[in-house]
Amino acid sequence: MDTMTLEQRKKIHPHKYSLWIAMGSITMMFIGFTSAYIVKRSQANWLAFELPHIFWISTAVILTSSLTIHLALKQFRGRNMQRYKQLITLTAILGVVFAVCQWIGFSQLKAMGLPLNGPVSASFIYVIVGVHMLHVLGGVIALLIMFGRAYRTRIRTYSAVPIEVAATYWHFVDVLWIYLLIFLSIAR
């Protein structure tokens, strides 16, 4: 019996597995966007410009939120539910702040004379950054659900799987943003 239990422990939880495949899938979507960007860039009439500076602030925000969700996971494992609730709230707020920063970035672009229906190089920024932002907001919704669960009194769950899944996803959208930022800064 013991060896079988050990074997069982080595297997990762199906939900986590699904998440890893989903992350591969989302990555493919952004590979689609960024390779379209590269193809387009090699053609004539490509307009290069500086990215809005606020994107660096949003990078700092999302990096901080990765740290807070990591701490939240630690607190959950240590059964410090109060700290855990505070930390996932903070993470969700940082997620929203990130989205607001991106939105401000859009208006800065517009002010630079680069609206959505302007040059293709700018349109790409709106679409790529916009779709990424939606993925971050999806993570915020997941955190709100976790938050609701944490306050539920009737059923209490002590499984760390949901928060682990949420944390992995959160780090994923963080890394995805870093990739996009580096990509968009280099391939201008």
Partner: protein, 603 residues
């Protein structure tokens, strides 16, 4: 909650901690939770199948309608006006309606029937049953997957009834035609609904695909090593990988197309004049869309054909009472096809101005697909070679699959050559090629699957006599319909044209086109016979009396005839051997659940 309950019981059984006899009693089933928002993979499979059948009837009926136009371009059919209204004024289908019908036929058959209806049905039904799991990794996501498909279906269905008609720029939805509402009547709201529906469809496919992969990798019963799985599971596994990696790229392409339509961006548009007026869009590239589209579009044809291949492998081994020939080679060739699927998309674009040097690589990679395909064909033939074949409808359709896969695959070698493609592209030759190799073959695989696993789905058998009529008429009919199209195509007759009788060079095919149309009507009628057989047998078919009617080795036949949610009433059986121990050591078949004997060789 059944999700956690199922997972929980699954793990406990895998621990081997204690017996469970109460799986069906974990939750009370209401009508809604049992038949509508069901989380039981078997019910979801039925939902996918029946929705797929409804779509198949609609899609096939559309092909009858536009074949009437191609076969009898000068005739009028007053009844057409009564069903299509102003789309068939005076009983003759208008050009706009013709394009809409062709577009919808393609969309419906490729996505709604042969993707959702085929892999949606059988991945759902067979993966948990054949790997030995209570349900999918996430039954809730599985349920969502169906309902996203249903929503996609509703939106697509609605697009058929809007005033300007459904999308009609071809199922590939190439811009600039599809990007500009002013370009044609079929590019107005129809395209928006088409894109919305397809976005929902992609979500459905991703939710399903994630589940299939994690169930296969994570939830196999004890002893079910990857190399002991039936080939069906291997094919569903590779299908899901293809879907999960290629559908998101299609979604990217669609998002950019939607932006071009509504946000004034110019991803795909440049230097366009409509009715003498220049558009402001500049700097876009229509070819960019084609790259994004075919990066999905090519894997999509394998998403369609791989499940059929898997089921045919299984049915052929069971019905010829012989182990599958070259089990590992079958897996290897599935893997090779899966890799190559991502590296050949530009062969759809040889004549778009693609760099001929680049084209040469795509020719090479395309022709390489012939190698794994030939390995598979060889293995199917050697599997039935000298076998003791039971000619059930399922095995006939499987043999038919091998036949159409060969004859349709060979023409692929022609089309895969960029130089021959200059002559053959956009002709009826292409229609003949992909309908035989992908359309007819995938349908044959699907029919084989339906006839074979119908007892597992409904606890009854389908009528075999109607099954034999269905097979022979469809088999002969399919060749009569598509074989002549090769000649038309080689003579240069273009596809998608509303009326080719104006050209002296294609007038000679008038009689041939009439003949094809008549066969189409006949074959369509026989498919309705199949649909009748299907629904009649659900309620009145011959009842199943034993658990394992086909004397098969795989796990799905160890469940009760009417298995509840959770599949096995007791513990999940343990597996000791591969799924193809037929005619071994003087025994007809040895189930996977039987331990290896002391003097027995493992395969």
């Amino acid at each position: 909650m059944s999700n956690e309950a199922t997972l929980h019981s699954q793990q406990e059984v895998m621990h081997g901690a204690h017996d469970h006899h109460d799986h069906e009693h974990h939750h009370e089933d209401s009508f809604i939770s049992k038949y509508v928002f069901s989380m039981d993979h078997k019910m979801i499979a039925k939902q996918f199948l029946i929705t797929g059948i409804v779509w198949a009837i609609i899609g096939a009926f559309f092909s009858v309608l536009f074949r009437l136009q191609l076969g009898f371009p000068d005739a009028t059919f007053p009844w057409l006006e009564s069903i299509l209204g102003h789309w068939a004024k005076g009983g003759r289908i208008t050009a706009e309606a013709y394009y809409a019908l062709v577009t919808m036929h393609g969309t419906i058959l490729v996505f709604f029937v042969l993707t959702a209806g085929l892999s949606g049905t059988f991945s759902n039904l067979l993966i948990p049953l054949q790997v030995g799991a209570r349900d999918m990794a996430s039954p809730f996501m599985n349920c969502l997957s169906y309902w996203f498909f249903f929503l996609a279906s509703l939106v697509m269905m609605a697009s058929l009834f809007v005033q300007t008609g459904p999308a009609s720029g071809g199922w590939t939805m190439y811009p600039p035609l599809s990007a500009l509402g002013d370009a044609s009547i079929g590019s107005k709201i129809g395209v928006d609904l088409w894109l919305t529906s397809m976005a929902l469809f992609v979500v459905s496919q991703l939710l399903g695909g994630l589940n299939y992969i994690s169930t296969i990798l994570n939830m196999r019963t004890k002893g079910m090593a990857m190399t002991k799985m039936p080939l069906t599971i291997w094919s569903f596994f590779f299908t899901a990988i293809l879907g999960v990696l290629s559908f998101p790229v299609l979604l990217s392409g669609f998002i950019l197309l939607l932006m071009d339509r509504h946000a004034g961006t110019s991803f795909y548009l440049s230097d366009i004049f409509i009715a003498g007026k220049a558009l402001a869009n500049e700097g876009g590239s229509a070819i960019l869309y084609q790259h994004l589209f075919w990066f999905l579009g090519h894997p999509e044809v394998y998403i369609i054909i791989l499940p059929a291949m898997g089921m045919v492998s299984e049915v052929l081994a069971v019905s010829s009472r012989k182990p599958i020939f070259g089990y590992l080679a079958m897996i290897g060739s599935l893997f090779a096809i899966c890799i190559l699927a991502f590296l050949v998309w530009a062969h759809h674009m040889f004549v778009t101005g693609l760099n001929p040097f680049l084209g040469a690589f795509f020719v090479l990679l395309t022709l390489l697909i012939a190698v794994p395909s030939a390995i598979k064909v060889f293995n199917w033939i050697t599997t039935i070679w000298k076998g003791n074949i039971n000619f059930t409808p399922a095995s006939l359709f499987s043999i038919g699959f091998v036949s159409t896969f060969i004859s349709g695959g060979l023409t692929g070698i022609w089309l895969g050559n960029s130089s021959i493609d200059i002559h053959l592209h956009d002709t009826m030759f292409v229609i003949a090629h992909f309908h035989i190799v992908m359309g007819v073959s995938a349908f044959f695989g699907m029919f084989a699957g339906i006839y074979h696993w119908f007892p597992k789905l409904y606890g009854r058998f389908m009528n075999s006599t109607i099954g034999y009529i269905h097979f022979w008429v469809t088999m002969v009919g399919a060749y009569l319909i598509f074989w002549p199209m090769h000649y038309e195509g080689m003579a240069g007759m273009p596809r998608r044209y509303y009326d080719v009788s104006n050209w002296a060079s294609f007038k000679q095919f008038g009689g041939l086109n009439e003949f094809i149309t008549i066969v189409v009507i006949l074959v369509f009628a026989v498919q309705l016979l199949f649909v009748f057989n299907f629904f009649y047998s659900i309620f009145k078919g011959r009842k199943m009396t034993t658990k394992n009617p086909w004397h098969a080795t795989s796990l799905e036949w160890t469940t009760p005839i009417h298995a509840g949610h959770g599949n096995w009433p007791g513990e999940i059986p343990e597996v000791y051997r591969w799924a193809y121990d037929y005619s071994k050591d003087g025994r007809d078949f040895i189930p996977q659940t039987e331990p290896i004997g002391p003097n027995e060789e493992v395969h």
